[in-house]
């Protein structure tokens, strides 16, 4: 047990990111279902979506993540057909759907407010889309029952929307948008109308239903946790542009810019200068806030003397009261610094440490609480050593 703990302490705080750190997600060969090419949307002078390209593959759950006003909803509404793009094309299953009105597109949307028809019962709501296709009554009835079963709402068939709780409304909305068996399902802030506790519970349930049906899905959300638990791939949007597109792990572990690094999770950013880099020496980066250089094993392949930002996640910064040693027990020459603990926030599973460096900069580090009580870990006003593995550092140029 003690061995294990030691190992844990050495690796990192959070197991989630520590395991299989460098494994890429298995790439399946999938058929592209939706292709968005050079799409731009302007409202007068304002550019809501700026020349975006995106391919969605069959069967995947894709999340558009961004703060409000970043253009994610506009993009979704253009796919649904509620907004016309200023330029560009949207190809759904080989067919260009620009100019096709929403009621002729083979995709359905679940609205943020659910938009259930207030004067219709649950069954009528679910049947509405099917009735538009003029299907025989029997088929409609069958499909409605199937959908009710899928979302476990059989006993509420004859209720009206205002007689349902938030979670139930969401399920009806989902059933309604799945009833027509769309090629593509769009979710606009699917959890936006639920309270926090229900939200976490519904996330997995929603994913289960969507996966059991096997429908391709694009969701829009401002909640990074939601995007990471539900989606296979995430696009981070800002000011109408995609910042980074990738799996949750890729985005968290290898952000491609400062915005992406700061947007997902918390991060320590060190503004520094590249001293030298090369295949033999690796990369040496100097930061005025740190007492020792950051020394990477890899060649960052940038010009010497360039300004770079080094990002290190809090859980990848080790906090020790004694000076840090490498695997061989030798004291570290670089990749560490010292500071004083100024704040400890107890979060239950982990504690967040704020450590003030000599330069005055505050570095955040997290430690699992299981360590804190088994071993006398740092407390307020302790002088501590902060160290990190070279591979924990991400070098960013903008």
């Amino acid at each position: 047990m003690a061995e294990l703990l030691k190992d844990n302490e050495k690796v990192t705080g959070s197991e989630k990111t520590a395991v299989n750190k460098n494994r890429e997600p298995v790439k399946k060969v999938r058929r592209p279902l939706l292709e968005i090419k050079n799409i731009t949307k302007k409202y007068g002078e304002n550019v809501a979506v700026d020349n975006v390209d995106l391919t969605i593959y069959e069967g995947e759950i894709f999340a558009l993540l961004g703060s409000s006003g970043c253009g994610k909803s506009t993009l979704l509404r253009m796919i649904a057909g509620f907004e016309n793009p200023t330029s560009g094309s949207i190809i759904l299953d080989g067919e260009d759907i620009i100019g096709v009105p929403p009621y002729k597109r083979h995709l359905n949307m679940m609205f943020q407010s659910y938009a259930l028809f207030p004067h219709m019962t649950v069954a009528q709501n679910i049947a509405f889309g099917l009735k538009q296709e003029k299907l025989p009554k029997k088929v409609i009835e069958e499909r409605v029952n199937q959908m009710l079963k899928l979302v476990h709402m059989e006993e509420y068939v004859n209720r009206k929307p205002h007689q349902l709780s938030g979670g139930q409304r969401q399920r009806v909305a989902l059933a309604r948008s799945l009833a027509k068996q769309p090629k593509l399902l769009l979710l606009d802030e699917p959890m936006g109308a639920l309270d926090k506790k229900l939200r976490e519970q519904m996330r997995l349930e929603l994913v289960n239903i969507i996966e059991s049906v096997g429908v391709t899905c694009i969701m829009v959300t401002h909640d990074q946790e939601e995007a990471m638990t539900m989606a296979e791939r995430i696009a981070i949007m800002n000011r109408g542009e995609f910042i980074q597109v990738g799996s949750p792990r890729q985005i968290y572990e290898n952000p491609n810019c400062c915005f992406a690094a700061e947007f997902i999770g918390s991060v320590n950013m060190f503004e520094s200068t590249l001293v030298t880099s090369g295949p033999e020496v690796g990369s040496v980066i100097r930061c005025k806030d740190l007492e020792h250089d950051i020394h990477l094993d890899i060649d960052v392949d940038l010009d010497d003397g360039m300004e770079v930002t080094v990002a290190i996640r809090p859980e990848k910064i080790y906090l020790e009261k004694t000076s840090p040693v490498d695997e061989n027990g030798q004291p570290l020459k670089d990749n560490y610094t010292t500071g004083v603990v100024t704040e400890i926030a107890y979060m239950g599973d982990i504690s967040i440490y704020h450590v003030k460096l000599n330069s005055g900069k505050v570095v955040i580090s997290t430690l699992p609480n299981v360590d804190r009580f088994n071993k006398g870990l740092p407390t307020w006003d302790d002088k501590v050593f902060l160290s990190w593995d070279p591979e924990s550092c991400v070098t960013l140029t903008f």
Binding site: F82, Q112, S113, A193, D195
Partner: protein
């Protein structure tokens, strides 16, 4: 209740294509023909000359001269000149504005406390009280004014009551005075003052008043400095809803006012029905419209503001 943090989608879906024109057509044509064109006609006739014993009793502005083969256009300014020359017309404009203004003020003085009392009463009671305020205006306007004739007459209920109390010996002349006109206007238009005031007062953010108390502001001062400013939109909307129709009021001065109470609405009516001087009536109406432009614009502005604020 759950936390509902989502926003309602306020972006209105716009219609397009032929649907759009189909929908616009009927109301647009109707209102152009029966509302806009009549105003042009009023304007036109106000520049015509009145002639007796002809149908219609005015000259046309455009005449065709068969000898010269020319169209003659003549605008006659005599109607406007007559209005500005004759002090009785100017007097009736001024009197209308004065009476409308004072009645509006009285409505505000009576309506504000009532609106406040309704808005701050129990929510179960509020709708019933509002209904009680509106209900009289669903009954006949004419009959409500008629009721005041019975009350204000020399041998009416009010005089009998005051005599019975021995406050007065001789019946007071109440009917056919300006006072009666004021009472009539206030009585008839009070609901139109109370409703917008109520809407504004119900929306008042009470935490602001509490902050005022907290910072040591006395209740009376709090009321005027913090409470009333939050209800300005209601005050303006209500005042305009009383002032504008009161300026052109005809029935109330006709039934309750004295022979001297020639308000402009009544003057226009008389010019039309009694004197049959249509061009003069049209000119009087045009000037009245010009006078009302300012309050109407003011009213529209507050309404528009209300709508954009409501959408936020």
């Amino acid at each position: 209740m759950q936390n509902k943090t989502y926003k309602i989608n306020r972006r209105q879906k716009k219609l397009s294509g032929w649907h759009k024109y189909a929908v616009i057509a009927l109301p647009y044509l109707w209102m152009s023909l029966f509302f806009f064109v009549p105003f042009l006609i009023i304007l036109k006739i106000s520049f015509a000359e009145s002639i007796d014993d002809s149908v219609p009793p005015y000259t046309s502005l455009i005449s065709f001269d068969s000898e010269d083969l020319k169209l003659n256009f003549s605008a006659y300014l005599g109607n406007y000149a007559a209005i500005f020359d004759d002090s009785t017309y100017l007097y009736s404009y001024l009197k209308s504005i004065k009476i409308a203004f004072i009645s509006t003020l009285l409505c505000l003085l009576i309506g504000y406390p009532m609106a406040w009392a309704i808005a701050t009463s129990k929510s179960s009671l509020r709708n019933a009280l509002l209904m009680l305020v509106i209900m009289p205006s669903w009954t006949s306007f004419l009959i409500r004014i008629y009721a005041w004739m019975g009350i204000l007459k020399p041998e009416g209920y009010l005089n009998s009551f005051l005599q019975w109390l021995n406050i007065i010996d001789e019946p007071l002349q109440l009917l056919h005075t300006d006072l009666a006109v004021y009472i009539g206007i206030v009585y008839a238009y009070l609901p139109f003052m109370i409703l917008p005031l109520y809407t504004a007062i119900v929306r008042v953010d009470y935490t602001i008043i509490e902050a005022g108390y907290d910072l040591g502001c006395r209740p009376a001062k709090c009321f005027f400095k913090l409470f009333v400013p939050q209800t300005y939109s209601g005050i303006i909307a209500g005042s305009m809803l009383v002032f504008i129709p009161a300026v052109g009021e005809y029935i109330i001065p006709e039934l309750l006012g004295g022979p001297g109470a020639n308000l402009i609405g009544r003057t226009i009516w008389d010019e039309y029905f009694m004197t049959r001087d249509w061009p003069l009536a049209a000119a009087l109406a045009t000037i009245m419209l010009l006078i009302l432009v300012v309050p109407i614009v003011l009213f529209y502005k507050t309404q528009r503001k209300e709508i954009t604020q409501g959408a936020k």
